[in-house]
Amino acid sequence: MSRDWNAMAEEDFRAHLRAFIAELCPANLRHLRLRQPPTVTMPWYRALHAAGMIAPGWPAEFGGMALTPERHLVYIEEMEAAGTPWLHDSGVRNLGPAIIAFGTDAQKAEYLPKIAAGEQIWCQGYSEPGAGSDLASLRCAGRIEGDRITITGQKIWTTSAHHATHCFCLVRTAGDGPKQHGITFVLVDMATPGITVRPIRNLGGEDDFCEVFFDGATVGTDCILGAVDDGWKVARSLLGFERIWAGSPRRARRALDELEAMVRTAGLEDEGLWQDRLVQAEFDVLDGQDLYSRFADLVSVDGTIGTEVSALKIHATEAFQRISDWTLEAAGERGTRDDAPLPGQPAPAFTWFESRAPTIFSGANEIHRNILAQRVLGLGKRVAS
């Protein structure tokens, strides 16, 4: 049933993906700029699942493609080039690897097939009004009684919570000791009574993130991933995967396409300044790809992600911002109309708005600089993270 995708010649693998996309991803889903609700994108998600292609990074035994890092990049590249839609796949990208690493056999059997099939859409309940960059100071409470855990508190900036069927969240189960201790990682069904979701509109005009209120929402303790009070360990491993993803060159690559299109639209393609910037942008993307491959290789060798990955996240997200700055500049007044972005068309202001978030989420880049300085370079006093 599962096939060895890595054994295929790269060209065959690309051809396979292209043919598959051409056949099963409808044209009206291509090159969309806004993330569409799951009702729109789920048919494509399910088509990928039916073909065993929804989880490129998971091991084959859990229904994944088990792609090598290089192959995984090819996969992303082909999906991006064809403009396939942005899926609600946090379960596949973030939670799945954490369940594979920390889950019980029962949890693996319960969640992984449903994540892969798209029966569960997951959001990540981490940030709180009082705990953003300082995530470990979170206060949303989990009270354990017998085999039940009851959650009371608030999460915010929760991406796609209004579309999610489930939320993996960090709750405080013990208040003494270091703040990283006493945090528990819980898998919560959003249909549980006592959960309210309110979307927040972002600068780009999208309802992409939300506030989530927990008012005594109770689930079984079999929904706890990893050990009680030791959820920070799970969260950290998951953050590593998230940072690798945030560090992938795909956003900067898309921004480069847009820069090139805008330079042409504005008639700037013969100017030395813009030719040079296009090459600088291409170097940023290709060099970022080399750095990404290096980290991805390390992960595939020993399964863990070093703290150095912060450097990858910083490069990828700031390259995206540099390039989108240039696109906005190349556009000039063309970039000032407040139109909804059209499929495949440059939308410089929208991209500029979009490029703000990645330097903030998955740990603000300033936090990553702290991590690199203190934990990788050994400067100043050590902080637990």
Partner: protein, 336 residues
């Protein structure tokens, strides 16, 4: 070219590191020669080891950590040129025996009425220069020392009208080889630049951990921590790019692909080394701008090597001429 296997790589890296860690010898040149590091790119039949760009980058990078890499890149380029088009020529024998120093002279050369014409400046000082002109490779002698480079190395000028020139090889392969050797040379010089950047980073981090101000080490100040993190990131990025480029270049590549990789890798190494020079000096304060300070030889070397075979702006221009690879929607499928 057959890439080095990991064991040989490790052996080279170890012996280079031992050499760099040892006392600088009075006769630097002959100690490099006796190690075989100046002519290892010649074929075995010509007295070399048949090594390629990966070995040269290891040797140059390792020696650069102790500011001892001169003239590895220069001799590598000469040896590689000879290996490709004139392996049995007298300059190959000179290089192999260490009798005379041979360098590749890269620059605009004309052939005027059967004689070479033009003047090449900013050349390394050598006894024999290899010059490509008019589809031929020439050996030329007669360089004149003219000034000193920022890193203390002598600079030579070569007046081709009045120089003795011997034709070593004739045919289009000379120009093709020059293009390849220039690209490989960029990778070797990039390895040196990055080594200097990495050493400056190490020195700077040590300084930040030990130097006390306001009752704590410099490393406690977040403003400086963030600068250090950025310098670390620059070195890490350049390392990823260079290692990937050398791994791809070692087995051989199409000329355009090799050129693109070399331009990109050297541009990134240039930028990392310059960022490190600026950042390290600032972190060291007044000691950073002291001639006897620990950074000085690295900084001067970096300023000398960045323009060699291309500043970043020159490399980006060269890259644009070959053509960018990430063109919009290159792999867009028909159905879209």
């Amino acid at each position: 070219m057959i890439p080095l296997d990991p064991d040989v790589s490790r052996m080279i890296a170890d012996s280079v590191a031992r050499h760099a860690a040892g006392q600088a010898t009075a006769d630097h040149l002959s100690s490099l020669q006796s190690q075989g590091w100046l002519h290892c790119a010649l074929p075995e039949a010509s007295g070399g080891l048949g090594f390629g760009v990966d070995a040269a980058a290891l040797i140059a990078g390792g020696l650069a950590r102790a500011c001892q890499a001169e003239p590895v890149a220069t001799c590598f380029m000469a040896a590689r040129m000879l290996a490709l088009v004139a392996p049995d020529s007298p300059p190959a024998a000179d290089l192999a025996s260490g009798r005379r120093l041979v360098a590749l002279a890269d620059g605009r050369v004309r052939v005027d009425g059967g004689r070479l014409a033009g003047t090449l400046t900013h050349m390394p000082l050598a006894e024999v220069y290899l010059v490509v002109a008019d589809d031929a490779l020439f050996a030329v002698s007669g360089g004149v020392e003219q000034g000193t480079r920022l890193d203390g190395m002598p600079l030579a000028t070569l007046d081709l009208q009045h120089a003795e020139a011997t034709r070593l090889s004739q045919g289009p392969q000379a120009a093709e080889a020059l293009r390849q050797v220039r690209a490989e040379g960029r990778l070797v010089v990039a390895a040196e630049l990055l080594a200097h950047a990495e050493v400056m980073l190490d020195i700077t981090l040590d300084h930040m951990r030990t130097r006390q101000q306001f009752g704590q080490s410099l490393g406690h100040f977040q403003a400086l921590q963030h600068k250090a993190a950025d310098l670390y990131g620059a070195a890490l990025l350049s390392r990823a790019v260079l290692d990937a480029a050398i791994a791809r270049a070692a087995p051989g590549l199409a000329p355009d692909d090799l050129d693109r990789l070399a331009c990109r890798a050297k541009a990134r190494a240039n930028d990392a080394a310059m960022a490190m020079a600026r950042g390290a000096i600032q972190m060291f304060g007044a000691l950073g701008i002291t001639e006897e300070g620990p950074l000085a030889p690295h900084v001067r070397r970096v300023l000398a090597l960045v323009p060699l075979l291309g500043t970043s702006a020159e490399l980006r221009r060269a890259y644009a001429r070959i053509g960018r690879v990430l063109k919009r929607n290159t792999s867009k499928d028909q159905a879209a």
